[in-house]
Amino acid sequence: MGKFTNTGNKDTRSGFGAGLYELGNQNENVVALCADLTGSLKMDAFAKEHPDRFFQAGIAEANMIGVGAGLALNGKIPFVGSFAAFVTGRVYDQIRQSVAYSETNVKIAASHAGITLGEDGATHQILEDLGLMKMLPNMVVINPCDYNQTKAATIAAGNYQGPVYLRFGRPGVPNFTPEDQEFVIGKAVNLIEGKDVTIFATGHLVWEAIQAAELLEQEGISAEVINIHTIKPLDVEAVLNSVAKTKAVVCAEEHFIAGGMGESIASVLAANAPAPVEFVAINDKFGQSGTPAALMKAYGLDAEHIVEAAKKAISRK
């Protein structure tokens, strides 16, 4: 315990921007499109370095998805970027037909995901995007936890052949995973070993899960923390191995319970090794304006709520 150090808060979208820039320099087939949010998605470094490989898509997301699919056909590796709300729900049919069903090598870069988008409010705070994307055959769904991991995930997504949904966020959050990490799509990362309860977390909730494990340790409870950075394909082996040991589960994510990572995990457990599961996620209600921190607290997406959920899961064994 205590082995995770925040090297300074950084936004995960900047990790994406840095990864895209590096990838663009490594591989001339990488192209990028953005729907009038180039600065917000930190795609400007790529756009400046490779103007011939960057396309301003304007406020026309449906077309952007289709153009990405067409570019992919000829061997390009397009990253299409906007806020998560506008590159999922708004363009679901385009992704379904022209990307997932057509098996085009398009990477959907979704920033400002979840409630931590903050002050803009519910129209922009999508909490169902993981569910929408994981329901599509052929789609890989990735939700990294910090700056370093988002950068590594972006590079891994570019090197993977096939459609990828890459989700990241707006606010600065603790940066604690290794700078030189290897990102393996579909491979969960066991951050803390424990024996009483497993906390599966994704995205911004991974840091909260680590804090929760430290609080639980002070109360004599040994919590395992696993970072599910890839929602699909889910690392089923990691889930079952951990729960075989702890027999109690908390799933923590910045998403609706419906369609989220927790739903995927609960479904694997129900079919293979039933265990009590508690969900730290948002239950069937829209977000609202506020600072990211205020919203995380108000919607129960923090270490304290994970601690309570862990105790409840253990009590249900």
Partner: protein
Amino acid sequence: MPTTQELNNIASQVRRDIIRMVTAAQSGHPGGSLSSTDILTALFFSELNHSPQNWSRDGKGNDMFFLSAGHISPVFYSVLARSGYFPVKELATFREFGSRLQGHPSVEAGLPGVYAASGSLGQGLSVAIGAALAKKIEKDPNYVYVLMGDGESEEGQVWEAAAFGAHNKANNLIAITDWNQQQIDGTTEEVFGLGDLEKKWKAFGWNVVVADGHNMDEILAAFKQAKELGAKEEKPVMILMKTNMGKGVDFMEGTCAWHGKAPKPQDAEKALAQLQETLGDY
């Protein structure tokens, strides 16, 4: 290059294929397939620089054709088979379980000639523009073609793509609208009021060519003119092909009734009596 008469002969066989496929499946879309037959025959048997026997999905070194109006798959499958992409006898499997000839074109089914799935309308123009821009990056001098229905241009995405294609100077793209003025619920004017398509496309920054979509010489001249316009000005080109829904079968012409309805065997017999068997039925 085939003569005009040869192209018309091929078109007659393609129309027979359409009627026979849709009748055998007792489902599918004959109306728009018949209105687009002459356009696609001219395209696949005269205009396209393509490699039917060695088709690959990256389209490198070839022209690429996208069918955006996926429901007119019967005409698409017929011209693909008849030009050598896959065995003609496979047309007999149209819409059957396990067939590569899905109700709407599918990549997953693995049919040669299908670059992207279509069926949900309004998406093909965007995909085609993406492919055209990739060809520009690659300095591949070949063209990208896309066929849309006229009713399809009621989709908002078409106009997003129109603006984007002009802004990005996609002059290696030739889009075609099958302007048959019919859709499922009635005429395009009754249903949605498409208005002056020529002015609309011009206003979006495109070059526009208008042609008779049932006259082979005019169709080929329109393709030639589109390429000349693209070489002269850095604009994409839209060819508005004036057509009749159901063309070639008298009781199907000029009505929306046969948009998505399969003929009964006795109707099919009447239809086939009007269409000469020129290349041999599959």
